[in-house]
Symmetry: C2
Subunit: 282 residues, 2 copies
């Protein structure tokens, strides 16, 4: 493996790097922009090689390192791995990549949000195949609440539904009911908290909530991750100065910038113009 | 671009190379094995980079050339591009790659099957985003039946449904009804023939047929492609000798061989053991 590129000099004025396999991580970027309105961001979606969720951990880790090197080379002060699959497969490797660069994943914040929300200690995790197989959420929750009962369900179709924009209606509803069936299998033992353990899933919140039934809380990593990044910047004195030039938002994609812009707008909650997205090769 | 590797010597005894983005092309391999039971095959699924259907034509063509070089390097007598997206994006480039090697795609055979099946000349093509955007089926059908009316519909979710194994039931049915809605929009003008223009879609045949309604014929490329390969081998005297060693079936995948074996069995119609699948890097 080659050495990591040297980080560009700069510090507080540099953007925060956000990395995802595609457009799903834009839900995390949306939360980051809300919590840190004065910061600049550079978002990289590895759209040429998505989805990560059906790939092996080894391959996902290799791709994540390439994306990280690209962002480090462009100059960032902090890296947010806004992809559950990459967080689960590669966070330790990414944290070792550049000892000066703080790296934040989405698994720990999601696990903390779930443990704080659950009253009965029964938590369901909806995620991609790869994240479920790796067990990262189950382990993270066990570290915080060792007595918690965790049920993890791989929901591959939710990714396709979110990308297709079918976030409501009969197809999404039928898929949510089918995936959540195991949670209703033992009456009186149902989880009271569901973690949306893939950044694509928040756009399907309403059908997942309907399938889960009343009294079940849905949590995702976006808001807690954004809080963690804010705390980290404050602790290291890396907040961008107010009164500096207006903050910037830049997008990089490894393929199909038109599709990134069209589909991405749904996840960011704001339109993205195709000419704002730079095509790069990793 | 580097030069193509030199084809291994051999001829008729060599296997037929079959290339797809993942496991969907196994439906084509199944048809090839049925029509050519004495032939050996080597199948390459580019599972690390699937799906191709949401990627740009340029990227798909680059990946297809790498896969072709790998198969040529191992020695094949003929290449079948068992992926509609790669056939649409890269067939001319692949045919130029090695002038001695016959290359067969799945678009032309599928278009011929549709033109032969349709009585009223109204044909619907269900395919991936990339195949629909490129217009390859529409153009291929127009060359054969210039008067035909072609409606192409991108059905991204069908790929995820087929891979998840949800080929029947309420989710698949609701998705098929939603995708086929435009075909029923103008009464009396509905197509009488539907091309399953992605190798994943034949496993969803029953729900697509139910959504299309009675009297609509479903055709796919698998059987006509296999017939074309048989005719090509006969014309070039490349049939394998009967009485030689038993034919061999080999599998290569660029990632997640366990998943390739587990999901692939559904498409091949016969079980695949994980240790029969060789992991390769392109």
């Amino acid at each position: 493996m080659s050495a990591a590129p040297a980080p560009a000099a700069g510090g507080a004025e540099l953007p925060i790097g956000v990395f995802d396999s595609g457009v799903g991580g834009l839900t995390v970027l949306r939360a980051l922009c809300a919590v840190l309105p004065g910061e600049s961001f550079i978002y990289l979606g590895d759209t040429a090689r998505l989805p990560y969720g059906t790939k092996s951990g080894h391959t996902v880790a290799r791709y994540a390192l390439q994306a990280t090197d690209e962002l480090i080379g462009r100059g960032i002060k902090c890296l947010v791995v806004a992809c559950n699959t990459a967080s689960a497969a590669a966070l330790p490797a990414l944290q070792q990549r550049s000892s000066q660069l703080p790296v934040v994943g989405v698994i720990e914040p999601g696990a903390r949000a779930a443990c704080a929300a659950s009253r009965n200690g029964r938590i369901a995790v909806l995620a991609t195949e790869s994240t479920v197989r790796g067990g990262a959420y189950t382990q993270a929750i066990a570290r915080i609440r060792p007595e918690a009962e965790v049920t993890a369900i791989a929901c591959a179709l939710f990714v396709a539904l979110a990308e297709e924009g079918w976030t409501e209606g009969p197809v999404a509803m039928a898929a949510a009911e089918r995936y959540l069936e195991p949670l209703r299998a033992v009456p009186g033992r149902a989880p009271d908290t569901i973690v949306l353990g893939c950044t694509h899933f928040p756009v399907l919140k309403s059908v997942i909530a309907a399938a889960a039934g009343p009294g079940v809380r849905l949590v995702d990593s976006a808001a807690t991750t954004a809080q963690e990044v804010r705390a980290l910047l404050a602790a290291r004195g890396l907040q961008r100065a107010t009164g500096a030039a207006p903050p910037q938002l830049r997008f990089l994609a490894t393929d199909a910038v038109d599709r990134f812009a069209a589909v991405g707008g749904r996840f960011l909650g704001a339109p993205i113009a195709a000419d704002e997205v730079e095509l790069i090769d990793l």
